[in-house]
Symmetry: D2
Subunit: 417 residues, 4 copies
């Protein structure tokens, strides 16, 4: 496993550099909202994570820089004071080249551990933290893609992220899959030091009782969501949660984040720039509030995360899709499966809460998940921006109901009566 | 049942008047926060509810006043524009005496329906709405008590609500009740037109799978919560949800809403004024954020609403307590029960979400519950301010995590390992 | 003078009661914005002023109530902590009847001083403070009228303040009065203990050099201001100060505070309710920002306060008008004067700044004026709401540029080239 | 004059490049507050100014880029919509190198005009606009220095702007200069197309009447301001304007912007980094609120802008100082003058208002000054950051009372009694 792990470490670290390579040091600094951090900050924070939780905590190395510790800690209160997230775009110094230097330093030191430490008695905890660090960096790789898109969208020139054009496609016919009531299993028992990694929020494996339900074989497409808009969906309080209605009336929201009406036509901001809305693409960058309103309009509902997990158990690989640049969702299915993925995270109706018997990770790594279990909704699956090997059946992604800058979409569900 | 219902109607309407009787027209106008409405507004809104959903909608009577319709609709968007809740304290006109006049008008008209309409074919829907209106007014009776307390607390003179003194008591010894894993029932099938009324959010009755758990025989007392404070509970991020920590650091919160430190001693604002903290009373006006942090500090957790419902099924009556003026919680139990109630709503860990198969009430009455199922937590039981006959096992109360102006407290739970 | 002063004291105190007499205790509590205090607060604060600065400070009497001291100090920091102005509508207790009781107490005690203290050696300072207290209460009498109007306007029922109807009138023909360049005198030397009272901000008398100017013989009327609106005045950045433009675009302001467009017609909220706009009335409740924009649109400018004082020196009495209920501006002039007043405070172009040689009143009474000399504009003259004998040539009223709830209007000026 | 003008143009344009040369493209992007724009934006906006008002408006050239027009218009509403100033740090694209390219384009086109257009009939207006453009760019050069200082200060690493160390010095002895009452001249008649340029806000030359006054021979030094702090100056409401007191209590301000207390010692952030406070340096980065409070504490006042202009008329050159890098104020005087300058803009007590007879520049260039004449105070003189040949006796700088990020200080004045 060690060689394997070293390779995964290096590949992961390398992929972050590849993701940033298309962007100038200036691009890597911008932040349009406190939610969407600069690429430079992601590059530094993921390195700080390895440095702090392994080099400093396990091996008592001196920190590379006390100031980096302050700048690049995200929210680990147990690790001391940190820069407020709204200030991340002020970091012109250290410059991007210094961050690359910092990454090299961390990689050199971690690599050395593979040679000297990995087979000692302490190696169990070391491996555990390396794996967590890899999964953590993969999460930030997805955020790098969503954040740079959000940040460049704030530029009035709405620049494209890529020169390649996104191809059109066909929408698979809609079908409904049925599941009877009964006891099902959810979550996983895989410990975090295993090759079958899981975060603490996915554990433990436990029983849930589900009422009979049906679920759509594919996510909602743009044509469908467009019908909601054209039927006055954003003007009818009946479809919306109270908080959602307050938000869209207060902020005058009439469409998903990246949709724009120009001269009577709908456009969508995508990796290839601002383009005429392609009705055959999966609806994406939909907030939970929008997803939930759409579902009510469609006389359906969103699935719970347990219904979702039950229905998707048959899908061979949530990473079977050929996710290529430019990053944009499309429909695909594994062979032998009747279920289409759409390259979007799928909102569930479930609040993000601890499973029965949940134990937060020990130490300050325990701040990773548990403390965010409030006023957020669970998303399941993975998106066109999710790194390969990062998606899995029990993975619980989570965002607040108003968040739309992730690659998030809608899979409908219904009761069986 | 008709005579019965007429009596319940009149008793309920009368009790609202009694609740307001201790307060001057000036007291009845104040509102310290948008959450805590003036008593006058409650008196008018509960009348509007009967007028609008019965007299106007069912019997096509003309509205008493188009302006009252605007002023006293709370949030039913389908019923048209309404006054923003932050403006409720501006209503000097209509004066309180005009509101009493309005109440009399509504009562006269509804009473007449009992004589003429109640046995016609339309009476099913009429009865249904009268029952909903009664339950609705009972909810507002509790709010009248919590709101006048909150509003008078904002007066620098912190006046008492009552001249009677609150008696001290003994705290029952703490014990843990055990429940094995298995399938349990939750919710109710009672339709809303039944004498066994339920709101739509309590329906349908359905199965849940629970892991084995234990639950405390009584709510947490002041002495216990005080220990949390004295151990630096409000200064240690480890106990708090991330949102909660942001809130208490931003707003410099160091204690529950009604606690005050003066000259080195803790005081609590109660119905009998600002008093030295009584360590033997149930901790009350605790927010969910505080309850959840306390539970973590105590190495426990909050029960889910289904665990709570399971554990409390043995309690004969949630209204067995002798709730007397002045309104303040105290410990008590029904005969033959080992479980103590504490006169406080009990926070659960459950997010406020629809049950499987949930159907919102038809028409604009459907705005009652479903649209608020977002970013709120469920409270169960009832409090010293809950009207008699209003508490029941399946009742789901709900407030946001930061809300502390309700009579809310903490019952602890734990896993069985 | 003593008898005279006693009479003025009693008349002034009595007039405040008359002003409040038309309103219920509930009306007397409301506050629609932190700017517009409840009538009850005005009644209490003016009494506190006499109590604190005379009974307590000069005669070392015990305060009537420590809590009243906290509640009814407006902003005198040297007098200790005080209630934030945004909380004034929370004061249901003390009730209005207790405030009347408080007023009687203060009047009884002050009256006693007239019998026993007024001719002692200390009487100079006593008289000085009684006179300041009278002038102070007169200022609050004007605020009582502007504030109750503002506060009732926030009620969706927009109730009238009076049953009497406001009569229409003719607009005097516009003429321009010429003044040559030269040295003029401004301000006054009258000490504050004199029958010819002045506030510190009007002193000392000093020279100013004025360039030749001309000034209108009357304030702008509604017909004229309406032309500004109909010419797109609120949509054209060219007329507006930068701060003003930011404000009206951010807050979507398209008309003066009390104007409303309904079914294609303009209405104005006046003492007699919401009425069709009377084009022949002086434009009133105009903010400085609006006045300044209008002047630029009209190819004129506002007069400086020194131009105003120079031009108005010939007017016999700024109180010559028969200001009757219901309170609303109208055109009138003294015999032998060619200048029309319009029952409105007249905005000047002058920032509110100290005169050369300005000395603030000694002690905490010095907080009266000087500390507000920042980001405010001077208004001159007086309005239909100004108490008799309170208006004078050198009087400097002041409000921020956005304030429109005073009876404020526009007199135009121009250079002579 | 033409050759002269061409040289001034090129020198000015070149100096902007020199100012930016010390900073990386990343440094050139940051903006810590909406007040402090990124250097890149300054570089682009000053070019847009020449392009728009000369190439596009006078010579009907096509704009270099419609998007640049949107991005780099600051606030000229007549020129169309523009980016909100709070969004200036989002502009990663165009990159800094593209901005340099843009500057070259503008310089090439303007240079060509010098060869072909400068002696035609249209040249009067052309020259006028080139001169305004030069003066405009010089203003932005000062802002480049104040803004990069402010922006880097927001970096927790508080980096120095320069490697050179700032030398210490002696504070000149304090003396008072006397001026009798009388009529004095203020402002200038120099038209804006003259070598003796003036902005519209400095015109026309006019008479003012001044009361006798005295003024200090030098600005206040750090030792003096420190005494204010050590005497509890920031804790005593008596020294502060009401708005100022509200601000410093609300925002917990206890010292000037760049002062910091660490381990019981005062530090100041300067061009050479965070340094122990040098008591012999002029107090700098003082807001008007602080200056005015200090003056009251010192039993003095600030001079009016007319007193200042009168007193400084004897100073040969306001640019006589040897302003070298690193940019920081120091005391110096011209030969034959008894008045010391301190390298700081000097706050006056004057509100920023139009002079009698003021005429705004024609066209959209008229938005330059007049529309900002509201809620700002006039500063006079110039600072260590003011470009050579830009300071002059009649120059009126202006900022809001709370602004402290300019190189602003305090010269005291007093009445003569």
């Amino acid at each position: 496993m060690t060689e394997n792990l070293r390779n995964r470490y290096l590949q992961t670290r390398n992929r972050s550099l590849q993701l940033a390579a298309d962007f100038s040091p200036e691009d890597c600094m911008i932040s349009a909202t406190p939610d969407a951090s600069p690429l430079k900050w992601h590059l530094a924070h993921t390195s700080w994570f390895f440095e702090n939780f392994i080099l400093v905590q396990l091996f008592e190395r001196e920190a590379f820089s006390a100031e980096f510790h302050y700048l690049f800690n995200s929210y680990y209160k147990a690790e001391g004071a940190h820069l407020h997230r709204s200030m991340r775009s002020i970091i012109s110094r250290p410059g991007l080249s210094e961050i690359y230097h910092y990454r090299e330093h961390v990689d050199r030191e971690i690599s050395r551990l593979f040679e000297t430490e990995i087979d000692t008695a302490a190696s169990f905890e070391l491996k555990r933290r390396i794996i967590i660090g890899i999964e953590h960096e993969q999460q930030h790789q997805e955020l790098m893609l969503t954040d740079i898109k959000r940040n460049l969208f704030a530029n009035p020139m709405v620049p494209a992220l890529s020169n390649k054009k996104i191809e059109s496609e066909q929408v698979p016919a809609l079908e409904w899959l049925q599941f009877p009531e009964g006891i099902y299993q959810a979550g996983t028992g895989s410990p975090e030091n295993n090759i079958d990694f899981s975060f603490d929020n996915e554990r433990p494996c436990h029983n849930v009782f589900l009422t009979a339900f049906q679920i759509a074989n594919r996510p909602v497409c743009n044509a469908e969501f467009l019908r909601f808009i054209e039927n006055g969906g954003y003007q009818n309080a009946a479809w919306w949660l109270s908080d959602a209605w307050d938000l869209i009336t207060r902020e005058k929201i009439h469409n998903p984040l990246y949709w724009q009406m120009k001269n009577g036509k709908w456009y969508e901001y995508r990796a290839d720039g601002l383009r005429l809305l392609d009705e055959n693409k999966p609806a994406v960058h939909i907030s939970f509030y929008e997803a939930e309103a759409y579902a009510r309009f469609a006389n359906c509902r969103l699935p719970s995360e347990f219904e979702w997990e039950t229905a998707m158990a048959s899908v061979h690989s949530l990473n079977a899709l050929n996710f290529e640049q430019p990053v944009h969702p499309s429909y695909a299915r594994s062979s032998n499966s009747e279920i289409y993925l759409g390259g979007v995270w799928e909102w569930t109706s479930s609040a993000y809460l601890p499973y029965p018997g949940f134990q937060a990770e020990a130490g300050s790594l325990g701040e990773y998940n548990g403390k965010f279990m409030n006023n957020q909704r669970v998303l399941r699956g993975g998106s066109c921006a999710t790194p390969e090997n990062h998606a899995r059946l029990t993975y619980r992604n989570f965002f607040p109901g108003e968040a739309g800058w992730q690659f998030s979409g809608i899979r409908l569900a219904k009761d069986i009566k």
